[in-house]
Symmetry: C2
Subunit: 345 residues, 2 copies
């Protein structure tokens, strides 16, 4: 009995734990190539227990991400007929690009907490955090470039441009008005989310497939699966950013509202004419009560429903592509896909 057949019967937690088995050594050997400073910060960002940060900020916390992208890359490799571990260089590349963008985005957004830990810039300073992000990006590209032929590296570099442009759109949204003809539309929001989240999940899926021995045509389809899942994932992220339990999400309660983020629930409720919402949001609800009232208003004007419905549609689009795959990993891909929209953190 191989790992491949065992894992079909496991839950998402086991699925993610399983991919961590081949991911962590690959990540560690890549990070070891960095100089002390960026290496320490990278370990901190990945939640490695030996890196607690200068003030012990990471002590005892689990830290690290869920590892969804590596897991999906491994499943895509299996879908192509290979082993999950075949995807390792691509999984490392995608996970490092993800970490790079989080570290830099946290600086740009001024976020002080992520994954129950102090963010890298807050713990180590802005300059060192910029460099650690750059280092992870460099490792990502080098790891993938050495391991692959064909379109994998160009898929990753194109994704990088999408990520930067997605973050630029997101930043530009901040200075747009809450209401009126210049307000952010739901379509613009989706374009941003596809660039910022869909692109990298699509890359994980396509590159995993290619590393598992799959062909280019199939890689395009896998990319599409990842993009649908990415948009669903981002929509759920927005729901959790307003209504999520901070003890579970690891982010401050009502974080997105207090930061005045123009997320999909907000955009949808504004389009539906929620009275006084634009004014409330412009004033950045800071008190717990005020933020809760704003969240209720968004919910009662359909912001949450609209966003969850979009996530559901995107999930179904991905699922119909997944079930058409003649592959051994279909069941696990489905499991992981469904988890992305039902997760609570």
């Amino acid at each position: 009995m191989t790992l491949n057949t065992v894992s079909c019967s496991l839950g998402v937690t086991d699925l993610l734990a399983e991919s961590r088995l081949w991911m962590e050594p690959a990540m560690r050997s890549a990070v070891a190539r960095l100089h002390d400073g960026p290496r320490t910060i990278s370990g901190f960002a990945f939640g490695w227990p030996e890196q607690e940060g200068p003030t012990g900020a990471g002590k005892g916390s689990s830290g690290g991400g869920k590892g969804i992208r590596p897991a999906i890359a491994g499943l895509a490799a299996r879908a192509a007929g290979g082993k999950a571990e075949d995807a390792a260089p691509g999984a490392v590349a995608v996970e490092f690009v993800h970490a790079f963008s989080l570290i830099h985005d946290d600086i740009m957004d001024g976020d002080e907490t992520r994954r129950h830990r102090t963010t890298a810039w807050k713990a180590f300073g802005t300059g060192p955090a910029i460099l650690a992000g750059d280092g992870l990006l460099a490792l990502a590209l080098d790891t993938l470039a050495h391991a692959t032929k064909g379109s994998s590296i160009t898929r990753l570099t194109r994704t990088l441009i999408d990520l930067v442009n997605g973050q630029a759109m997101d930043t530009a949204f901040e200075s747009r008005p809450w209401a009126g003809p210049d307000a952010v539309t739901a379509d613009e929001y989706c374009a941003m989310a596809v660039a910022k989240t869909g692109s990298l999940l699509g890359c994980a899926t396509a590159v995993g497939w290619l590393l598992g021995g799959g062909d280019e045509e199939g890689a395009e389809r896998m990319d599409l699966i990842g993009r649908h899942l990415g948009l669903a994932f981002q929509a759920i992220d927005d729901v959790l950013g307003i209504w999520g339990d901070p003890a579970v999400t690891g982010k401050p309660v009502h974080n997105d509202l207090r930061q005045g983020k123009k997320t999909l629930p907000v955009v949808a409720a504004l389009v539906n004419g929620a009275p006084g919402l634009a004014l409330r949001l412009a004033a950045r609800p800071s008190g717990g009560r005020e933020a809760r009232r704003t969240a209720d208003l968004i919910e009662s004007y359909g912001g949450r429903l609209h966003t969850e419905a979009l996530a559901e549609r995107e999930l179904n689009a991905a699922l119909s592509l997944i079930t058409a795959l003649p592959s051994p990993a279909t069941a696990d891909l489905e499991l992981l896909a469904r988890y992305l929209v039902t997760r609570r953190s």
Copy 2:
């Protein structure tokens, strides 16, 4: 008469101007792929006249770099038997990686002026400047990945790691003592300079050669030429950072001394036992007179001579490799190489 034969008789200024002819359109079409924010900042960093910055900081200034890396990539392509323009994707990649690292380094180092212009972070803010750097890096990789086969992209990604580690070493030098067994040594300095400056010039030379149709074996030799030139270049940069004319260099006078940088002239003078130098440097000479006295002390204890001699040796090592090239661009490569150590800015 082709461009190739004409350029052999030109001076360095014309050589650089000539490569700008095919570089600028290639750079502009790449930068056009970025979203407004990072696109604007990139144009500002390149000194494009239409991007004066939010406060008109760039108005009327020439801005931009000298374009040494693109020029050397073009010459390397000609050395391999191709046309200078063949190197365009590699030249764009290297120039963008260079710009990316300057933009990020200026944030880390807190530098407010470069190339007679306000630095990007000072003009546009830290977050937007981080993102613009990321955008340029993404464009660099994507441009090269699409244009090349073989080792070009892995040469660039390896260079990226060198750059990050070189900057990490440079940063780590800051917290090392000025004297005693833990002081920075000349060897450590050279390892840092090769990583931070030599690696990218080596990449420019090797990738230009490959894009011009050259083989892998030759690319290794070209890489070595670039590394020697890069170390020479950095040594001269350090000399200019202390004794350069700020009206020509575009950086504040005695900039490196006031920032307490452990550059080669400083390290060499300390090794030679310049009396009181460690104390003077630790106190960060801020007044013009104090900085001038410190510069004089470094010079009288051989710091300047040692550094210029190293640059000379590295130049000669590069020249002996260049003259062995059976190539049409040898004379121009020599010209450009000599310029790197005789330049005043």
